[in-house]
C-alpha cells in the first residue's frame, strides 16, 4: 500500500500514447466551438471512443442520444466517484491533467447542448476540491468557461459536488440520485439518464478518463486516436496496477496489451493470478495470461491487482465478497441477500463444511444475480465468485494443510 501511494504521489514524468501525450491547454475548446455539433459527434464516432468506466458504452452514442433528447436543460456529469477497489487512475488525471477532464466536459456540453457540467467527486478526494475549484476559476478567467465562451454564444459552467462515500454511487443512476440529495440507489432503466437524468433532464454521465480522451480526439482527430489499440478497442487505457509487483502505479498502455506484457512492464514475478476490473471484475489464472485487455476479450475499468504464489485465492475471494455484502445498496433482493449467501458459501469452504452440491447451487444463484439484479453492482458482484472458484478449484478444493484450509471437505 505504501509503495502504491508513493508511486502515485511522486510525480514522475508521465509518458503515454494518448492521454499522457503533449496537449496545449485550451486547444480543444478553441477548436470545438468553431465546429458544428454534428462534426464533433462524427469525430468522436470515428475515434471509436468507448466509456472508460468499465461498461464500454460508445461515447458518441451516449452523446448523440442526449443531444437528440428534447428538453430546455441538459447536463453533463463527470463521474469521478472512483471507487472500484484497486483503481486510482482518475486521481492522477484530476490532479495532474485537469485541463483534459474539464475541457472534455466543455466539449461534451457543447456537443449535447448542455449548459451545466457537474463533477461528482468521491468524498475521499475532498483534498483535491480546492485545487480543482482554482483550476475552474482560471478557466473562467480565460473565458474557457462561463458566459459566451471565447466570444461564441455558447455558455457553460462546471460545478464540483462531493459524494457521500457509497461505492454504488459510481453507478450512473445512483450517482444522479445522490446528486439530487437522495439515498444513493440505482434507478430503474429504462428510462435512461440520456432521457431522464439529473432532475429529470437529459444527462450524459461520463467517466473521468473518457472525458480526458476527448480533447486529444478533437485536436488530433479520430483517425489518429484509432491508430492505437485494436479494432474494437481503440485508443489507450490507463491501468491502475497494484499488488505483487515491483512498480505499481498508473500506466497508459494501448488496448490489446496482453496480461503477460503488462506483468513484464510492472515487474511482476511468480504471478499466480491477476484480478482485472477490480472486485467486480474477473480473476485470470496464469494459464490465461496471454489474453488481451480490451473490450473484445477482457474489458476493464483499469484496475489490475496482481497476486503472486504466496496468496490464498480463497482469502482473496472472501475479501471481495465481504466488500459486496457491505457495499450493495440494499435495494434489490438478488444483490442484497445474494451476496450474503455467496460470502457464507466462501466461509463454508474455509471451514471445510460444505457440499459441492450447495456450492454449485450458489454458482447458479450467482448467474441469477448476474441477470436479475437491478444495476451493474449486483450483476457483476458474482463474477469473482464464479471465476475464482472455477479457475482455482484445484487450489481451493484439493490442497491440504496450507492456506487456512483444513482439507476436510465434503465430497
Amino acid at each position: 500500500m505504501k509503495t502504491q501511494l508513493e508511486n502515485n504521489i511522486i510525480k514522475t514524468e508521465r509518458t503515454g500514447p494518448v492521454l499522457f501525450s503533449p496537449y496545449k491547454r485550451g486547444d480543444a475548446i478553441k477548436k470545438a466551438v468553431k465546429q458544428k455539433r454534428e462534426d464533433i459527434l462524427f469525430e468522436i464516432k470515428d475515434s471509436g471512443l468507448k466509456g472508460r468506466g468499465g461498461a464500454g458504452f460508445p461515447t458518441s452514442t451516449k452523446w448523440m442520444l442526449t443531444a437528440a433528447a428534447k428538453a430546455d436543460k441538459k447536463f453533463i456529469v463527470c463521474n469521478a466517484d472512483e471507487g472500484e477497489p484497486g483503481t486510482f487512475k482518475d486521481r492522477v488525471l484530476l490532479m495532474e491533467y485537469p485541463q483534459l477532464v474539464f475541457e472534455g466536459m466543455v466539449v461534451g456540453g457543447y456537443t449535447i447542448g448542455a449548459q451545466t457540467g457537474i463533477v461528482y467527486l468521491r468524498a475521499e478526494y475532498e483534498y483535491m476540491f480546492e485545487q480543482l475549484e482554482n483550476y475552474l476559476a482560471n478557466m473562467r478567467e480565460d473565458n474557457l468557461l462561463g458566459e459566451n465562451i471565447l466570444g461564441t454564444d455558447f455558455s457553460f459552467d462546471i460545478s464540483i459536488r462531493l459524494g457521500s462515500g457509497a461505492y454504488v454511487c459510481g453507478e450512473e443512476t445512483a450517482l444522479i440520485e445522490s446528486l439530487e440529495g437522495h439515498r444513493g440507489e440505482p434507478r430503474n432503466r429504462p428510462p435512461f439518464p440520456v432521457n431522464t437524468g439529473y432532475m429529470g433532464y437529459p444527462t450524459s454521465v461520463n467517466n473521468v478518463e473518457t472525458l480526458a480522451a476527448v480533447p486529444h480526439i478533437i485536436t488530433k482527430g479520430g483517425s489518429w486516436f484509432k491508430k492505437f489499440g485494436t479494432d474494437k478497442s481503440t485508443g489507450s487505457k490507463l491501468f491502475s496496477v497494484s499488488g505483487d509487483c515491483e512498480r505499481p502505479g498508473v500506466y497508459e498502455l494501448p488496448w490489446g496489451t496482453s496480461i503477460n506484457e503488462l506483468l513484464e512492464i510492472v515487474g511482476a514475478k511468480n504471478t499466480k493470478a491477476v484480478q482485472v476490473g477490480g472486485a467486480s471484475g474477473i480473476c485470470v489464472p496464469r494459464s490465461q495470461f496471454d489474453r488481451k485487455l480490451g473490450y473484445e476479450d477482457i474489458p476493464t475499468g483499469g484496475s489490475v491487482i496482481i497476486f503472486n504464489e504466496s496468496r490464498n485465492m480463497l482469502h482473496v475471494l472472501k475479501n471481495f465478497m465481504e466488500f459486496f455484502v457491505e457495499e450493495s445498496c440494499g435495494q434489490c433482493t438478488p444483490c442484497r441477500i445474494g451476496n450474503i449467501k455467496l460470502l457464507e458459501g466462501v466461509e463454508m469452504i474455509e471451514r471445510g463444511e460444505f457440499t459441492f452440491k450447495y456450492i454449485n447451487t450458489l454458482k447458479e444463484l450467482g448467474r441469477t444475480m448476474q441477470v436479475a439484479s437491478k444495476c451493474g453492482l449486483g450483476q457483476s458482484s458474482p463474477n469473482s465468485f464464479i471465476s475464482i472458484l472455477e479457475n482455482f478449484k484445484d487450489e481451493i478444493f484439493h490442497t491440504t494443510g496450507t492456506n487456512g484450509f483444513n482439507g476436510k471437505a465434503g465430497k
Binding site: E177, H182, R183, P190, T196, Q331, I337, G338, T361, L365
Partner: protein, 635 residues
C-alpha cells in the same frame, strides 16, 4: 407529465409521454408475449400489458396505489435482445419487443429470489397474523417452495416495536419491499419510515431508530394495509376484550363504525361491495358483547355539534367581526388530527373542537347510558369497532377521560373483529340480521356516509342547507345526493350559494337570532383524503391561496376516507375502495332517515341530557376536546 412526487426518482413511476390520441398512428405497439402477438398501448409497462392479456406475472414490491420500485425483482421477464432480465413492473413498452414471462431462466431467477427472501424472513406461517393473507406465502406456494434452499432465520434479529398504540413493527418479517416507505413518504407524505443502512445492514427504520411512539407517526396504518407480510400489524387488543367478555361482572359495549360493515365480508373471502350491518350485529351478540351501538348515531351528533360550531364561527366572523380561525377543519379522523398537530401546529385552532364520533360515543356510554341503565361506569368496557389504526391511539389520548373514566377502552379493527368472529366459530355472511340497541338505536344515512371521503361534508351540507334555508335538500340536490363532494378525486372543491334563508330552528335559537346575515353568501367547502392531499390544501392555505377562503374543509387521513382505513381488510386498492364506497352509498340510499338533524334520538338526547343544546356547557364538557401543538421535533 404527472405531478411531482416527493419520493426519490429511483422509486418513482416512469414518465413516458403517451401519444394523445389513443387510436392515432403510433400509439399502439405490437409486442410478442410468450410467442403470441398482442397490441398494447405505447408506454404501458410489461406488467400492465400482461395483465390485460390474462398473463400472470408475480409481484411483491409492486402495489397499485404506490409508485414503481422494481426492487424485489420477482416480476423479472425475458426481453429478447437484452442481456439481463427486466422487471415487468417498471419496463415501459416503447418498441415492438418480444417478451417471455416463464422461460427457464425466468423461473429459476424467481425461485432464487423467493428462496433468498425466505432466508431472511423470520418465523413460521402458522404463528403469523397474516397467515393465508400473505403475499410472500402465496409466492412460495406458487413456486412450489418445499425447503429453505438458502437457510432460514433461526433467531429474531430485531426487537418487535410495540411502543405505538396503533402500529406494531416486527422487522424480522420484513422483506425490504419498501411498500411501507413509499406509503409513508409518497402516498401519505408523512415520512416516518425510510430505508436505513446499506448492504446486509439495510432495513426499514424510523428517525434515529426511535420507537414508533416517539416519532411523528400519525398512526394511519396505511403501511399495514400495504405490507405484503406480517412485518407490520395493528396493535391487537382482542385477548383483553375476550377476557372482558368472559368476565360476568363486566358490561361489554361495542359501537360499530360504518366502514367495517362495508368491508368485513372480505375477511370471509367475499368480494368487496356488500354491507353486513344486520349480520354483524347478530354476530357481535353471539360472540358475547352485551350491547351493540351504531357509531352513526354519534356521527349525527357530530354533525350537529360541528355544524353548530361552524355557524358560531361564521357568525362571529361575519356579524360580530371577531377574529376566528377559518376555515374550520373536521376532526373526525385521528390520523389527520395528529398529522396537523405535527406538521401544521399553528393551525390547530382551525380544527373543530368537536370530538370524533368514537369519542363522543365513549363519553356518552359511560355517562348518559350508564345512568339510564343504572350501571356503574367502572364496570363498563367500551369497545369501538373501527376501520382505523389511529382510533387505537385516539382512545388512549390522556385527555379523553371526560366521563371520569377512560371514555373508550379499546379500538378494534375490522381485521381483528373478523378474527374474533372466526374464532367464535361464526360464519358472518350467513348470520340472521338484527338491529342496533337502544337508546341509540336509530342513526341516519348521513352518519353512515362518514365512511367515505366527502361523507362528513355531505352529511353536514344535508343539515346546513335544510336548517338555514328551510328548503328540502332534495330540492337542491336530487335524492339528497350531494355529488360534488363525492368521488375519489384527491381534492374536491365546491361552492354552495345561499340565495334564501328560512327561520332559525328551535335547537339553535339561543345562539343566533336569524339567518339574514347568511343571505347572499356563498359557502365554500373542500374535501381532501390522504394526508398527501391534505398537505396540498394546507400549503395552499399557508400561501393564502383559494383554499384559505374556504369555510369548512373535510380532511381524512386515509385514501378513500375511513373505508380505506388502516384497520380494514387487506388487500386494498382503488377498485376495492370504490366497491366499499358503493356499499356505503347503497345502504344510505335504503335508509328512511338520511339527515342527522332528523334523527329523533339525537333530538331526544338534547332534550333529556345535553339540555343546554349544541355547543352548550354539558356538550362542551363531554363532546368537545382540545389539541396539542406537537410539532415535528419530539424530545
Amino acid at each position: 407529465m404527472k405531478e411531482k412526487l416527493r419520493a426519490p426518482k429511483a422509486q418513482q413511476p416512469l414518465i413516458v409521454e403517451k401519444p394523445t390520441l389513443e387510436d392515432g398512428i403510433g400509439s399502439k405497439v405490437t409486442v410478442e408475449i410468450n410467442e403470441k402477438k398482442v397490441q398494447v398501448l405505447f408506454g404501458q409497462t410489461i406488467l400492465e400489458a400482461c395483465k390485460e392479456n390474462q398473463i400472470h406475472v408475480p409481484t411483491l414490491c409492486h402495489h397499485p396505489d404506490l409508485c414503481i420500485a422494481g426492487n424485489c425483482r420477482i416480476c423479472v421477464v425475458e426481453v429478447e435482445g437484452m442481456r439481463t432480465l427486466q422487471t415487468a413492473c417498471s419496463f415501459p413498452i416503447t418498441a415492438p419487443i418480444k417478451i417471455k414471462t416463464s422461460s427457464p431462466m425466468v423461473r429459476k431467477a424467481r425461485r432464487h429470489i423467493i428462496d433468498l427472501l425466505l432466508s431472511e424472513h423470520y418465523g413460521e406461517c402458522y404463528s403469523c397474523v397474516r397467515n393465508n393473507n400473505c403475499e410472500l406465502q402465496t409466492l412460495a406456494k406458487e413456486y412450489g417452495v418445499d425447503s429453505y434452499t438458502f437457510g432460514h432465520v433461526q433467531e429474531p434479529v430485531y426487537e418487535v416495536d410495540l411502543s405505538s398504540y396503533s402500529v406494531v413493527r416486527d422487522m424480522n418479517k420484513c422483506v425490504n419491499c419498501r411498500r411501507c416507505v413509499r406509503t409513508c413518504i409518497d402516498l401519505q407524505e408523512v415520512g416516518v419510515l425510510e430505508a436505513i443502512g446499506r448492504g446486509d445492514k439495510t432495513h426499514i427504520g424510523t428517525f434515529l431508530e426511535k420507537p414508533l411512539a416517539d416519532v411523528i407517526c400519525i398512526n394511519c396504518g396505511q403501511c399495514i394495509n400495504r405490507c405484503p407480510t406480517g412485518a407490520l400489524r395493528a396493535n391487537d387488543p382482542s385477548d383483553v376484550i375476550w377476557n372482558a367478555i368472559d368476565d360476568p361482572t363486566k358490561h361489554v359495549v361495542i359501537q360499530t363504525a360504518p366502514s367495517p360493515r362495508a368491508a368485513i365480508g372480505e375477511v370471509f373471502g367475499l368480494e368487496p361491495g356488500k354491507s353486513f350491518t344486520g349480520e354483524l350485529n347478530t354476530a357481535l351478540r353471539r360472540i358475547g358483547f352485551d350491547v351493540v351501538f351504531d357509531t352513526n348515531f354519534t356521527a349525527d351528533l357530530t354533525i350537529i355539534e360541528e355544524g353548530t360550531e361552524l355557524i358560531l364561527r361564521l357568525y362571529k366572523a361575519l356579524v360580530k367581526k371577531e377574529q376566528v380561525a377559518l376555515p374550520q377543519f373536521t376532526s373526525c379522523s385521528p390520523g389527520w388530527v395528529k398529522y396537523l398537530e405535527h406538521f401544521y401546529p399553528e393551525y390547530i385552532d382551525n380544527l373543530s373542537s368537536a370530538k370524533s364520533p368514537q369519542q363522543m360515543f365513549g363519553a356518552l356510554i359511560k355517562t348518559f347510558y350508564a345512568q339510564k341503565k343504572g350501571i356503574d361506569p367502572k364496570d363498563i368496557v367500551s369497545v369501538a369497532l373501527m376501520p382505523c389504526a389511529a382510533k387505537k391511539f385516539e382512545c388512549n389520548r390522556p385527555e379523553m377521560v371526560d366521563s371520569g373514566y377512560k371514555d373508550v377502552d379499546f379500538g378494534l379493527t375490522t381485521r381483528e373483529l373478523g378474527q374474533m368472529i372466526q374464532e367464535a366459530g361464526i360464519y358472518l355472511p350467513e348470520m340472521p340480521k338484527s338491529n342496533f340497541d337502544d337508546p341509540f338505536g336509530e342513526a341516519s344515512g348521513a352518519g353512515l356516509i362518514f365512511g367515505a371521503t366527502g361523507g362528513v361534508m355531505e352529511a353536514a351540507l344535508r343539515s346546513v342547507i335544510e336548517l338555514v334555508t328551510g328548503k328540502k335538500v332534495e330540492d337542491v340536490f336530487a335524492n339528497a345526493d350531494i355529488t360534488p363532494v363525492r368521488g375519489f378525486e384527491g381534492i374536491k372543491y365546491a361552492e354552495i350559494p345561499i340565495t334564501e334563508v328560512g327561520p332559525v330552528p328551535k335547537l339553535l335559537q339561543h345562539l343566533v337570532p336569524d339567518w339574514n346575515w347568511l343571505k347572499g353568501a356563498t359557502l365554500k367547502i373542500a374535501v381532501a383524503h390522504g394526508t398527501a392531499n391534505a398537505k396540498k390544501i394546507m400549503d395552499d392555505i399557508k400561501a393564502g391561496g383559494k383554499f384559505s377562503e374556504c369555510h369548512f374543509i373535510e380532511f381524512m387521513a386515509c385514501p378513500g376516507g375511513c373505508l380505506g382505513g388502516g384497520g380494514q381488510p387487506i388487500p386494498t386498492d382503488e377498485e376495492i375502495r370504490k366497491m366499499r364506497a358503493k356499499a356505503i352509498y347503497d345502504e344510505d340510499n335504503s335508509l328512511p332517515v338520511r339527515k342527522s338533524h332528523e334523527n329523533r334520538h339525537v333530538a331526544e338526547i338534547y332534550d333529556v341530557f345535553l339540555t343546554d343544546g349544541p355547543c352548550g356547557h354539558i356538550s362542551h364538557k363531554l363532546l368537545h376536546t382540545h389539541y396539542i401543538k406537537r410539532g415535528k421535533y419530539i424530545a
